[in-house]
């Protein structure tokens, strides 16, 4: 009953809200909100930003995380410290991360430009969050900084769960290191990869707090993500119907991406 009230009722209600339109004579059923999606440039741009951002950040996080996990899975000195220090960014609340990076990236007083200046690099044009391209790179970099450790951790757990036997067999068959990685490690790591890609994709598509703190979607519209636009529509402009409509489109797209992942990674296993 509680579950029904807390989760199902709001969901159903948001569907009705997205399909209703307030008119002078009362509330009418209509597809206005969904039609508006097709003509809304802000919505389209924010969607494109969100997907470019998600793909870029996910790629970096996955490649880095996998490399670190493989490295850390070997017997090297000091790997305990290495692992522990890698986890620090992940433990910070995203809001804190946003504030810290906002300070670091300040073009005039920030530590990053300060350091570069000490090294004799001209920082006049490195305005980070004030220039559209650099701001987009900056928000990607911050997410990579914070969430690569998570990818690393899951993949490392996956690596350590792989038994030794297949490796010994591969060694006996005389396979090269690349062949071992390609035909032994990767297939056995698939469940971990699936989990990490799924979780990160969902998180990236609904990213909100660190960007809200870091750039608020700016400069201009350069780092506006769909979740920020939905928030603004609902709570700044008080248009719940349109915000609900956008949320459903985002939900549908996230679902499609998830299904594609699961299909892709499962069929390959057979």
């Amino acid at each position: 009953m509680v579950l029904l009230a807390l989760s199902i009722y709001p969901l159903l209600y948001s569907i009705t809200v997205s399909l209703q339109q307030e008119t002078a004579s009362g509330i009418a059923w209509s597809l206005t909100h969904f039609k508006r999606l097709a003509t809304d440039n802000f919505f389209r741009t924010a969607m494109v930003h969100t997907f470019v951002y998600a793909i870029a950040a996910l790629t970096c996080e996955f490649v880095l995380g996998l490399a670190l996990a493989l490295l850390s899975n070997q017997q090297i000195r000091g790997r305990g410290v290495f692992r522990a220090s890698l986890l620090v960014p992940m433990m910070l609340p995203t809001v804190v991360v946003g504030v810290v990076w906002r300070l670091l990236l300040n073009p005039n007083f920030g530590a990053i430009n300060g350091t570069l200046k000490q090294l004799g690099i001209n920082t006049e044009s490195l305005t980070w969050t004030a220039s559209p391209r650099l701001a987009f790179l900056a928000v990607i970099a911050v997410d990579v900084w914070q969430w690569t450790p998570f990818v690393f951790l899951v993949l490392l757990a996956g690596l350590q769960a792989i038994p030794q036997e297949p490796y010994e067999a591969a060694l006996i068959d005389g396979s090269s290191r690349w062949q071992t990685f390609r035909h032994v490690t990767l297939p056995l790591l698939k469940p971990a990869i699936l989990i990490v890609l799924l979780l990160r994709t969902m998180d990236l598509l609904r990213v909100f707090d660190q960007i809200f703190i870091l750039t608020e979607g700016g400069p201009g519209f350069a780092t506006e993500m769909i979740s920020l636009y939905i928030y603004r529509t609902a709570f700044r402009f008080f248009d719940f119907g349109y915000a609900a409509a956008m949320s459903f489109v985002l939900l549908a797209l996230t679902n499609i991406v998830s299904v594609v992942y699961i299909r892709f990674l499962q069929t390959k296993e057979e």
């Binding site: 005039n108 004030a130 559209p132 608020e216 700016g218 201009g220 519209f221 700044r236 008080f238």
Partner: protein, 424 residues
């Protein structure tokens, strides 16, 4: 719509519980306040009133951004949770236009007054009326903020410059100072500094230039007209000012602008009175006694500041409108408003701007009074939040070099037109 809002309101239950417990013989009032110095002064006044009269007063205090949400949710749901609300004047057209507020004139008449006290600054009373200036009175002004022009009088004197009365003089002075001066620690001294982050920041810093150049957001037929030749010229001028502003200003907010002035790395800016006290605080300011406060420069038209008053209104569904009105009138008397002024809030009464004790404590009062008296509000429309957001995005895009001034204004105009059409 109402049901969803009720659900959201469930989250607010803790706030009301105090408002709904044990009915008393004395009426109880619940106030919705903003955090920070403006809300604190009003809260203090409420405590004094409680001690004097025994009327129990409850507080619901929120940060600026969420105050708007909470109030609009309450007003929409007609729950009557609040008996008095503090509101920023740009929210007023939306609240009053939706018939969410109590008309104060009948309540004044019951108390033998024909209208609000003539001591209130007209510009401040105008924003309390719907429609603007001429309509019914739905609020009283409590904090009389309006923009000021801040400049470094020591540097102006050093280079033989006089107080700028036009934007062209501002630009010329900024170029001179940037060329000849060094900032703190041998760094660069910038002639000007402004906010051009999308949203409220860029719009607030641009409107005085926009108006001075003779541009208007809406033409006589209420059609958007930001892409008029005057509007484009104003944006071109803003980009000129950007060349003498610190790099990265396209993402600046109030904090960064004030930091540059306080740290002795910029010479001029538009700013709000709330920052004045920071400039004489040795812990924060490297420029104590070097900043002068003036009214805004003009161009084709005399300079006009944007008004940013805090108003107090009684929601239409408050069950205690009479008691709320008694308190509202008491809190806005000259005597009580002076207490609020001493706590750091600019008043909205003419007599207080001339009060000797206050002027001695706040030397910028004469400039603040001139600025407030000639100020004008942001364009009055219930869709202001949405329009400001869209307009700010295109201003920021122009300032970060993504769009040319005419492209930015054309696209902004088209977007504002869409917003207005949707609202019809």
């Amino acid at each position: 719509m109402r049901l969803t809002i009720l659900l959201i309101l469930l989250a607010l239950v803790p706030v009301w519980i105090c408002a709904c417990t044990k009915p008393n013989s004395k009426p109880q009032l619940t106030l919705a306040l903003v955090e920070g110095v403006e809300g604190e002064a009003f809260k203090q006044a409420a405590r004094d009133y409680e001690a004097q009269t025994g009327v129990h007063i409850n507080f619901a205090q929120f940060p600026y951004q969420s105050l708007f949400e909470k109030e609009l949710i309450d007003l929409n749901a007609q729950s009557g949770a609040y008996d008095l609300i503090m509101l920023d004047d740009p929210w007023f057209p939306r609240f009053a236009g939706n018939q969410f507020l109590t008309d104060l004139t009948p309540l004044l008449q019951k108390r033998g007054q024909t209208g609000p006290d003539a001591d209130f600054v007209e510009a401040s009373l105008n924003v309390c009326r719907h429609p603007y200036q001429t309509g019914a009175l739905y609020a009283l002004p409590y904090v009389g903020n309006s923009q000021l022009f801040f400049y470094r009088k020591d540097l102006f004197a050093k280079h033989g410059l006089k107080e700028p009365s036009t934007w062209n003089e501002v630009l010329a002075a900024a170029k001179t100072i940037q060329e000849k001066e060094q900032g703190a620690n041998g760094g660069k001294m910038y002639g000007y500094v402004m906010r051009a982050a999308q949203g409220n920041a860029s719009v607030a810093d641009f409107m005085p230039i926009f108006w001075a150049f003779g541009a208007e957001m809406f033409d006589a037929n209420r059609k958007p007209a930001v892409n008029s030749p005057e509007g484009i010229a104003a944006l071109e001028f803003m980009l000129e000012l950007g060349k003498v502003s610190p790099p990265g200003y396209a993402s600046f907010n109030a904090d960064e602008v004030s930091a540059h002035l306080l740290q002795d790395t910029a010479a001029m800016s538009i700013n709000w009175p709330a920052w004045i006290s920071a400039f004489s605080d040795p812990a924060r300011s490297k420029v104590i006694g070097k900043i002068e406060f003036a009214t805004l420069p003009g161009a084709r038209k005399p300079g006009q500041a944007e008004i940013g008053n805090w108003l107090i209104a009684i929601p239409r569904y408050s069950a205690n409108a009479e008691a709320a009105m008694d308190f509202l009138l008491w809190a806005t008397t000259a005597e009580q408003m002076k207490r609020s002024a001493l706590r750091g809030n600019p008043p909205t009464r003419k007599s207080l701007f001339q009060d000797a004790e206050l002027v001695a404590k706040f030397p910028a009062y004469p400039a603040q009074f001139r600025s407030l008296s000639t100020s004008r509000p942001r364009p009055r429309t219930p869709q202001w939040n949405e329009i400001e957001n869209a307009f700010g995005i295109f201003l920021s895009k122009a300032n970060s070099g993504e769009l040319s001034p005419s492209e930015a204004m054309n696209q902004a105009n088209a977007e504002i037109e869409k917003i207005l059409q949707r609202a019809q």
